[in-house]
Amino acid sequence: MKVRMVGCSHHNASLELRERLAFNPLQTKAALQRFRLTFPQTEAVLLSTCNRVEVYTAVDAPDEGPSHEQVAEFLAGFHGVSLYEVFDDLFERTGDDAVRHLFSVAASLDSMVLGEPHILAQVKQAYQLAMQENSTGPLTHAIFQAAVKVARRVTNETSLHQKRVSIPSVAVAEFAAQVFEQFDDKRVLVIGAGEMADETLRYLREAGARQVTIVNRSYERARELAQQWEGRVAPWDDLLSELVRADLVVSTTGAAQPVVTLANYQQIEAQRFQRPLFVLDLAIPRDFEPAIGQCLQVYLYSLDDLKAACDRNRRERDAEMPRALAIIEDETARFMADLHHRSTGPIIQQLKRGWQTPKEEELRRLFNKLPQLDERGRAEVEQAFDRLLNKLLHPPLETLRDESRHGIPHALLDAFKRLFQLMD
């Protein structure tokens, strides 16, 4: 049995290279079909996300299946890229290293943002796609199903996934969610239309926000962002009136002076009737004058406040890493032992079958000599023979299981074959 992973990730390959080797779902299907034609005996799953492109292969016979070079050539060839351009950036993991790697990936320990929740869904999606294309088999089924279980175990037994570290995700999940129970009925006002606004809107959208208004000095850019997030655009001059209606504000302009001063806010404060206002001021320098944070029912958070929370989360998450890694190690060892033990299956079956025939012959002979035995007596004798057989087979099978923990016990299997005259 051989498990192998060949690919690249954000650890060793540039974004440009990852983009060149990336697969969209249609390309993944085509690639898996082509892979199956090229290597018919090999099971394969292709995982392609913005941070990694990885091909997992598994084959029953250790000397069969594609090599590192062949998989690399396949990846490069599919995208029409020269192998020499990408080969150095592709890394390989085999055996338990490949299994450990997949477990770490699924549990989001290998992600760019540690503990981010999307990768598990992406791993599941890759596995499902491979199943649809019939490129999976017993080995990849076992590995990917185990990976999903391991990821869940890491999520349940550590707080790694509860600690977010990107500023927009912390702003939404840890601060806005403490003020608002739901976002679908909240009016979100976005001031500015930069990258940070875009990313924060992604998290707000995931949290359920539907009513988004964008105010930007450049009306065109605001309209683009509004189209992307199904929001509406308001003219810059309406900023204060939009502030009256808003429940949540994300401000990300590049203005050198505050966009909303205390005097501005005081103009509209009475019109809000002390409705809570949550302001995420993600601009440098700040868009909201800090004194606004002292006003009633205003919760004003600047980039520094959020950074402090991110750093705190990062520290807490780092402290959780040893526990998560211990789970990965534990599960990898267990999985590999099971996998190795599985390879001894045919020998065990043969051994059991080999003893079954003499047992049945002896029983037949015995029952012929003891015709007075009734049905109950016969059943008792049969059970006694079965018990004896199980007791005789138990020590060698246990030894086989123990030895499987350290790899496929080739020498022991060989000895079994010779001792019990088992055939391949």
Partner: protein, 295 residues
Amino acid sequence: MIERIQILCFAASYGVALALEISRLGFRSAVRGVLLWGFSVAGFLAQTLYLWHRTRLADGPLSSPFDWYLLAAWLLVLAYLVLAYWRPASAIGLFLLPLVLGLIVVAALLADRTPLAVNRATRAWGALHGGFLLFGTVAVFIGFATGVMYLVHAYRLKHKLPQRRGLQLPSLEWLERVNSRAISLAIVMLLLGVISGAVLNTVRPELPWSDPIVVSSLVTVAWLVIVTLFVVVYRPARQGRKVAYLTVASFLFLVFSLGAALVLNTKHAGLPEQPTDPARAARSAPLEFERRGAA
């Protein structure tokens, strides 16, 4: 077996549950959740059996101040279990369980008071009066707990303090919603309670209208009516910290009203007497009954 259940059984269970809630602030534990549920549910079941057994001995669950307070505590525990089920990560018990224990302590202090007079003509009005006041009181207690939670949470968010381990609270919006609903329910229930009490006293005049309990209840209801008018007229009072402050103040008024039964000379819940009838003795002195049951 039921006879052997004592107040101490469920009070101790709630006490352990509260200690477990407090321990959230100090350290993490994988088994705490199970223990917390175990002790809370065990206490709740013991209290349920205890109250059920009392209804077989006494004239009804609301027939004495002792039963009334225990029933209020029981409802509050029920609310705690429901809220804890929906929000297991929130430290709701930290705010509700002390109130439960407080009600049980007050019940124990009032254990020697005589049962309320029972008469066929007044039984229905008495049950209505007791029931409305019971639900109103529980609503005020829940409003108080969520109001305090709101103020703590709002303070933390306003001052950008990190969320302390074990002191996770529901969102401000949720707290405000529960808070304002609890106070609305309390106003209706307490108002109906006072009206049914007035009818009761008119049908069978037993209490002078100047009785301290009557006066303090009227003051509480008057306060709640003022709160309602304030909320209707002044729009900012419908949300945020103002609702929380109003519920905390309403709780203080209610405590003042309930405290009157403990310290003032009132005929609403009779002062200790020496009953001769054994069944009446059981109703009027439940702790004595428990001691004998346990023996």
